[in-house]
Point group: C2
Chain length 256, copies 2
């Protein structure tokens, strides 16, 4: 299949990394070869599954700046079928260095195109910004999955994100589509969550996943043990929800 | 007093904006003249008190790039004594434009120095990154207040933030001090919150505020009405906590 999905939202802390870790692992557990790409200098994607942010290990920086051989930078994780292109400390510098390169928005696409015969799915985790790193993610992907925290500031940021996606569709990636909008950190006790959900569904009816990810402390505990939720607590509400979303994503991938 | 406090943490969604709005308003309610500075292109600071992110209004972009007269960009808010230098849509472009300017890290400092006779307190809200905008905030401030979500990823990011603060202290702002670490979104039901709090207190004993901000949905509802928590629900746990923290900040300011 070789489907590449970028998980993006410039609002901070909406569950991008948590979504990439858990959806990727679930899909890997079904037997698919999955690559997770960390294009966020914070390096939470790796540390969330026990791979420390490092200065000495090659990673996304080398992939972008040196166009490194994928075999020299992609590493396996502790989970079968699940691989990662980890961030490293140098990646923070890439944001400036990239601006001087000719094909600056397409460096990640160039790198990932060499891996698409091997991986069934590629998930790209992005930083909370609409800068050159996120643009590389949007330019490289087939679709963009938007995690949306069911709160006011996150809803506000959606407009800016959609403008950016449109701009990328026009000039860098005409085939980029929206994979879906995923409501995250949904608090079933609050009216605010419901109001935000209704607002989003008004504009994006069939694009919003039926499943929403509830606020569930197990999801924030799991990374402190370097585990996905399916390893840490496979029966908790967060795991059930991420399983359902992953199955929706698999169904969508099979249909296209 | 003219004390300038930058609120910074490159981890997304840890409560930077929520802290600036509520601490600023509380201090303004005590009769002090307070300026809030939005150096985050997302513009949540303004929108959280009902000032829409605009393309036509002058704001932080003009202050940084054109060194605009403060009288032409700072605006009053609906609350007495509380003023704002709002972000605008152009600010996203500033991140690149600034890199070409000579004194690129000190543009905000230059602008704010002209206002320090008028304001008793200046609070700077920063984006979730350690880029040139946040650096401007760190270079302009007397102290840095670090909101710290009581969860794993946020704790990880602290190390990188402290390195950046050290670097700024060395080369750009030798008098920069840490105002304090504020635990936010603390969930009193979870062991995770307690574990993170203990970890932080081990390293920063006297720097961690006694008050922590509990997870309280009223704090996330207030901005959707364009209100501070003291306007929206002054007796809820979130308001009580922000009141106590603001009083700690006032005490610290009086002692120095
Ligand atoms: N459904 C959930 N319930 C409870 N906690 C969650 C949930 N999803 C994520 N978290 C926690 O919330 C915090 C923010 O999530 P996460 O880091 O995945 O967001 P992000 O969008 O990747 O943030 P950033 O913008 O900084 O990259 C983390 O501490 C995470 O463990
Ligand atoms: N103590 C709290 N309890 C409940 N919700 C909160 C609390 N503090 C902040 N929030 C909500 O959590 C979300 C993130 O908070 P906020 O936007 O202030 O963080 P931030 O650090 O400024 O994020 P960013 O990195 O994107 O600028 C917002 O929707 C906000 O309304
Ligand atoms: Mg993340
Ligand atoms: Mg903010």
């Amino acid at each position: 299949m070789g489907k590449c999905i970028v998980v993006a939202n410039q609002k901070g802390g909406v569950g991008k990394t948590t979504t990439v870790i858990n959806v990727s692992h679930y899909i890997a557990m079904q037997g698919y070869k999955v690559l997770m790409v960390d294009i966020d200098p914070q390096g939470n994607l790796g540390s969330g599954i026990g791979i420390e942010l490092s200065q000495s290990r090659k990673g996304t920086y080398e992939a972008l700046i040196n166009q490194e051989d994928p075999n020299d930078v992609i590493i396996p994780t502790k989970y079968d079928n699940l691989f990662i292109l980890p961030a490293n400390l140098q990646l923070a510098g890439a944001q400036v260095e990239l601006l001087n390169l000719e094909d600056k928005e397409k460096r990640l696409k160039k790198f990932l195109d060499e891996t698409k015969d091997y991986f069934d799915f590629i998930f790209i985790d992005t930083p909370p910004s609409l800068g050159i790193l996120t643009i590389n993610g949007l330019a490289a992907a087939d679709t963009v999955l938007i995690p949306l925290q069911a709160e006011f500031f996150a809803l506000e940021g959606l407009i800016q994100l959609l403008k950016t996606i449109k701009a990328v569709q026009k000039s860098l990636n005409t085939s980029l589509k929206i994979e879906g909008l995923l409501l995250t950190m949904y608090d079933i006790r609050t009216k605010l969550s419901r109001d935000v959900a209704e607002e989003v569904k008004k504009f994006f009816k069939d694009k919003v996943y039926n499943t929403f990810i509830p606020r569930n402390v197990r999801l924030s505990e799991a990374p402190s043990y370097g585990k996905s939720i399916f390893d840490y607590d496979p029966t908790c509400p967060g795991a059930i929800a991420y399983q359902k979303v992953s199955e929706e994503i698999l169904d969508d991938a099979k249909r296209t």
